[in-house]
């Protein structure tokens, strides 16, 4: 019994010594093999991380097209502050990119009527990133004027503008504002005078609420429909509707981009796997002589296979771990470069990369070993 276990221990020690010696002696080949596996694992982890992360990131990017859910008053009224917060609560903060409140009034500049819009400026910048402002965004007692307003009235950045409204008893009341910038959107806003809600309230009073609530949410068409019907069913006297044009187009574009990246990733992975396997096979194939020698010395097929498999798995584990970590680094780099946002490091993917590397290097080792073992030791040793 004791002799048996001592022999097993000795054999185990011999196995380990052979394995380590084999790795240490053939340093350059081992390096090549580890490098091959690490490259494969880097690509695997990097691309997989990007692929998992991309739909959310792209969906966020597509939000630059503007709000995809709008809420307007049902009747000829406006949305009160309490209704606004009720709607906010129904929309929730999940996936919310931005929210903006708009209140429209008519003002006159040089006796010409224009639309004045009171908007919370931080909100509108999040919801409508495409608003192009020459000059700066307004602060207190300042306004943005649309390009058409600027062209017609001849006002520019830095000039003073008198906004006239009909006050009590049809007497005109004029308020002076500074022009901080010119707004260019190519849409209806080119004819607007934009200011903060407080400034608009100082001219028109706080009597009316908002005319329009805009939400930019990273959700698909079905998700938006659900939110809209939730708001419509809440009995708030408002009508919510998804902006169909954006919701529908976003689905189309996202599907296309995702399938593009999916296909690219799949193809890269298959080809890289094959390349890694061929390199491993080449590394093992050149050791036919060694296999022949072992066989001549009386080693069984199993023990030879175990030798090579052990070595392959060792290389696979080291290369896979190295590549997995490098791959996460690559994904992080890409995400920072492209989207300016970091990816959550998913250590499961590194584990998966190690497992895949083990499997590939194991198979790639065993195939040539099996072929080599079919050969007569004498022939191999003679060098043919």
């Amino acid at each position: 019994m004791a002799a048996d276990s001592a022999r097993t221990a000795a054999r185990r020690r011999l196995y380990l010594v052979m394995l380590l010696r084999s790795v240490a002696r053939r340093r350059s080949r081992v390096l090549v093999a580890i490098l091959a596996i690490a490259i494969g694992a880097t690509t695997l982890t990097g691309l997989a991380t990007i692929l998992i992360d991309i739909p959310a990131q792209l969906s966020r990017e597509l939000r630059s097209y503007g709000a995809n859910l709008v809420v307007v008053p049902s009747a000829e009224s406006s949305i009160s502050a309490s209704a606004q917060s009720a709607v906010d609560a129904l929309v929730g903060s999940d996936g919310l990119v931005g929210r903006a409140v708009y209140r429209y009034e008519t003002v006159r500049i040089n006796e010409q009527p224009w639309t004045a819009a009171g908007v919370d400026l931080a909100g509108v910048r999040a919801v409508r990133p495409y608003w192009e402002v020459t000059g700066s965004w307004p602060t207190t007692s300042q306004v943005l004027i649309g390009r058409d307003v600027a062209t017609t009235t001849g006002l520019g950045i830095g000039s003073r503008v008198l906004l006239t409204v009909a006050g009590k008893d049809d007497k005109d009341e004029a308020t002076a504002f500074g022009v901080s910038g010119v707004l260019d959107t190519g849409g209806a806003e080119d004819g607007f005078v934009v200011m903060s809600p407080d400034d608009l309230a100082s001219v028109f009073g706080t009597g009316r609420g908002a005319d329009l609530l805009e939400y930019s949410i990273t959700r698909d068409a079905a998700g938006l429909d659900a939110v809209a019907s939730r708001i419509n069913d809440a009995g708030l006297d408002v009508t919510a509707s998804p902006v169909k044009r954006l919701a529908r187009s976003e689905t189309t574009v996202l599907n296309t981009l995702n399938s593009l990246l999916g296909w690219v990733t799949a193809i890269v992975l298959v080809l890289v796997t094959i390349t890694v396997a061929t390199t491993m096979m080449a590394v093992v194939t050149e050791r036919r002589t060694e296999i022949g020698l072992k066989k001549a010395l009386g080693a069984g097929e199993r023990s030879i296979a175990a030798d090579f498999l052990g070595e392959g798995l060792l290389l696979g584990a080291v290369g896979g771990l190295l590549g997995g970590v490098l791959g996460l680094g690559f994904a992080e780099l890409v995400s920072l470069q492209v989207f300016g946002r970091s990816v959550g490091a998913d250590w499961w993917l590194v584990a998966a990369a190690v497992v895949v590397s083990l499997v590939i290097s194991g198979i790639a080792c065993l195939l040539p070993v099996r072929r080599a073992m079919r050969v007569e030791p004498a022939i191999v040793l003679r060098g043919e």
Partner: protein, 430 residues
Amino acid sequence: MFWRMVTRALLRQRGRRALIAVTVALGVCLSTALLAVMLDVGDRVNAELKAYGANIVLRPRTAAVVGDLYGDLGENASGGSLKESELTRIKTIFWAYNILDFAPFLSAEVSVRPGGAADATRAEAVGTWFDKRLDLPTGETADAGMRALRSWWDIQGAWADDRDPASVMVGSKLAADSGITVGQQLELGYRKATAKLTVAGIFDAGSDEDGQVFLPLASLQKLTGRTGQVGWVEVSALTTPDNDLARQAAQDPETLSAREWETWYCTAYVSSISYQLEEVIDGSVAKPVRQVADSEGVVLAKTQLLMVLITAMSLLAAALGIANLVTVSVMERAPEIGLLKAIGASDRAVVALILTETGIIGLIGGLVGYLAGLGLAQVIGQAAFGSAVGFSPALIPVMALFVVLVILIGSLPAIRLLLSLKPAEVLHGR
């Protein structure tokens, strides 16, 4: 003698040589496919983003200023108009091929009376081209119309037909309010004129358009007596994302130097295409729709950068993979090289032999891989975009250079090792 050795080596150890050729082929296949897709991805994604609608709107100069402000200026104030006869010129500008689609629009407030009903409702009628074949001054034909510019519309029934002046489409809200159904007769009234039309389809646009009726442009022109006039034109163009030059030009093209101006004019910026459109359509102002044009630029730039990084990563992986295998395959021939050296081969002869062999294998593998890569690019194009990926001749020299460099670099460490071999030691099996 040299060539006999090369051919023998290639023919005798077919298995191992094939392994290298296969790896080179795989690497080149991958690189070719990704490069081809990368070079093309801008146009493809841009085309996909066209689903968001027009990115340039042409308005009459007089209306561009008062435009949307007054909404209804009353029936007499048309606010200026463009000429329908000039529209084909849109397809003759410098960037004509980048104009994917365009459609003219003319609107008027009309009364809508469903057949059999006594009461009429007021609604905005929009005349347009739905899907029209145009004969260009150049003798070619082109398709234009709003169908592609409203890809998100849900249609019940069918699209109205430009060739059938009596067809009309009704918005879902208007249809629900007035009880209009597909196939019903509809009478449109404008001042004293009336027109009898048949409802071809009911559309759900999810916007204000749901309260409008759309009919062929010619029919509305006839009804309102504004023959040959167009209110505005929506244009969908493939554009390059804006940079500083484009922004400066958008402010005022006159501030550019002659050279800058030429660069700007000959690049498909949204501002230069707008400028060219203004040149060909009399009395028009072309405005980029920032919501679409800018967002397009953002998404496009990010997608392209993403593809560039992924491609770079894959090229690197492919290159390292190939170089790796070349290194191994050269190393395993140590005994053979030792023998050659022992019988008096010079270092130079050994290097020439190995490089020639590897080069031939690499080229064969590279050629196969290149062809397979082109095929693979088409597979990706079909799967992702449903259309073929363009063939870029520039890829041939690039891939040839890639293969040669990778094989040379892959051989270098191995060759250095082989040259330092002592024949006696190698032959002894150490």
